[in-house]
Amino acid sequence: MDKKLVVSSSPHIRTIESVQSVMTDVLIALFPAALMAVLLFGYKALLTMVISVVTAMAVEALWLRKRDLFSDGSAAVTGLLFAMVLPPAPPWWLVVIGAASSIIIGKQVFGGIGYNIFNPALVGRAVVVMSWGARMAGPIWPQPQPFAFTADISAVTMATPLAAQQEALSYSLASMFIGVMPGCLGETSTLALLLGGAWLYYKGHIDWRIPGGFIGTVFIFGLLFGGAFYGGPFETGLFHVLAGGVMIGAIFMATDMVTTPVTANGRLIFGIGCGLITMLIRLWGSMPEGVTFAILIMNGVTPIIDNFTIPRQFGGVKKSA
């Protein structure tokens, strides 16, 4: 048959992107941070990540009654992201309950992938922070031991740089950029996270507006209100960007496609809001770090932001109030 003209209905142009390909890209983007975590915190960090990913995938497969463990890959991403925001050596049951909560309370009760209101990995983190606060905050953070794979990292523990100014001063900006400081296993290395972010940006999965708004707001807020304790206002601003979970939050959590605004202006507002709440909690709140709750709160107001930032169609008329 030699048809010159094929008549079909739209769509005519299809993307080769699928949920699975996007999730695989996110996993690739997380690889540098995961590698850094293993280099800094040894086998326990690796174990934590494996338990979390396996639990998340198993719970998702059980819930959906699927044989395919990897499936669309979203459970693996949620599991890995959840592990990234845990201390390097939590007890196994905490990882299992948290990863299961991520999938069940964070995602499946809302109807599964694409329907969840809140970032599933951060829901899991919120659940374990609220439940076992003593294991998730305070001077419980192991000192990083670079290239010591089998070291018992739990031997020496301390507070994170955000907990007290004295702690903060013992880490140079350079060592914080590379990631040699105590913290959650995937959040310490800004360098590795930026590499992953660059990959996601290159692939077109993230919009610069959310991380830009988030990190920019944190920097400006730290510069203006952080005090000059870190050698000057400019350095203090940088300190707030590099310390804690801002980088992983801004690059991987706040850019989740499902739970963030779809409009360009909305994304900028979302990023700025995340930065603002993070800094309010850090500087004047009772907790040392506020990235988790900042992003969860902004997830909650995402529909409102979307509603207020609907772009006008080209040639359209502004709706009268």
């Binding site: 309950i97 309370i105 009760v109 659940v127 609220m130 439940s131 076992w132 606060g133 294991r135």
Partner: protein, 209 residues
């Protein structure tokens, strides 16, 4: 005229079919507020049930005397009377429970389960039916609180029959680290949501409507 339901039906509908908490989602304030411990949850349920039965009876007896324009204030006066009595009884005989329930005891006055039954049922039916309805709804309310507080105390505290140190039983040994989230207000909402999901699927399975 429609066929009148039997007395047995009047009694049982409040327990499962029209359970005030699990089906109608009424009275959420005490349901979420006092269910961190089983003792408090059941105490609250029984106190509200006692008020419900008594106020249903009196409202039903007075139903032809109360002018419809001012019926809500009249119901409130009746309910508040019984709440005051219950409050004094609790304070006198169960001071520990009274302390634990705190502000939620006087708040029974505005419990929508009680006001709802007075408005929707007792003010339109004869006393015997009103009392049966009150007993059924009261049992349903207490059962729902028992279920929710069981979930919350076992997961959130790892105990049962707490917080009184004389009766408390630690279910999982001393090393157990409970999931404190479920003892907190945020966890009350999550636990209630999960409980409702389970109850709904059970109702579907056994075709309870």
């Amino acid at each position: 005229m429609k066929h009148k339901p039997s007395y047995w039906q009047e009694f049982t509908k409040g327990i499962l079919k029209e359970n005030p908490v699990l089906v109608a989602l009424l009275g959420m304030c005490p349901v979420l507020g006092v269910t961190a411990f089983v003792v408090n949850g059941v105490g609250m349920g029984l106190a509200a049930a006692a008020v419900l039965i008594a106020s249903n009876l009196v409202v039903s007896l007075l139903r032809n005397l109360i002018p419809p324009q001012v019926r809500i204030p009249c119901f409130i006066v009746v309910i508040a009377t019984f709440v005051t009595i219950i409050e004094m009884v609790l304070e006198a005989f169960l001071p520990v429970l009274y302390e634990a329930l705190g502000v939620f005891v006087p708040l029974i006055v505005v419990n929508c389960v009680i006001l709802g039954r007075a408005e929707a049922f007792a003010s339109k039916n004869k006393p015997l039916r009103a009392v049966l309805d009150g007993v059924g709804s009261g049992i349903g309310f207490t059962l729902a609180l028992l279920l929710l507080s069981l979930v919350r105390e076992i997961i959130g505290q790892g105990t049962i029959l707490g917080p009184d140190p004389e009766t408390v039983i630690h279910l999982f040994g001393a090393d157990f680290e409970p999931m404190i989230l479920f003892a907190q207000p945020a966890g009350a909402f999550i636990a209630l949501g999960l409980l409702l999901a389970v109850v709904n699927s059970v109702y579907k399975r056994f075709n309870i409507k």
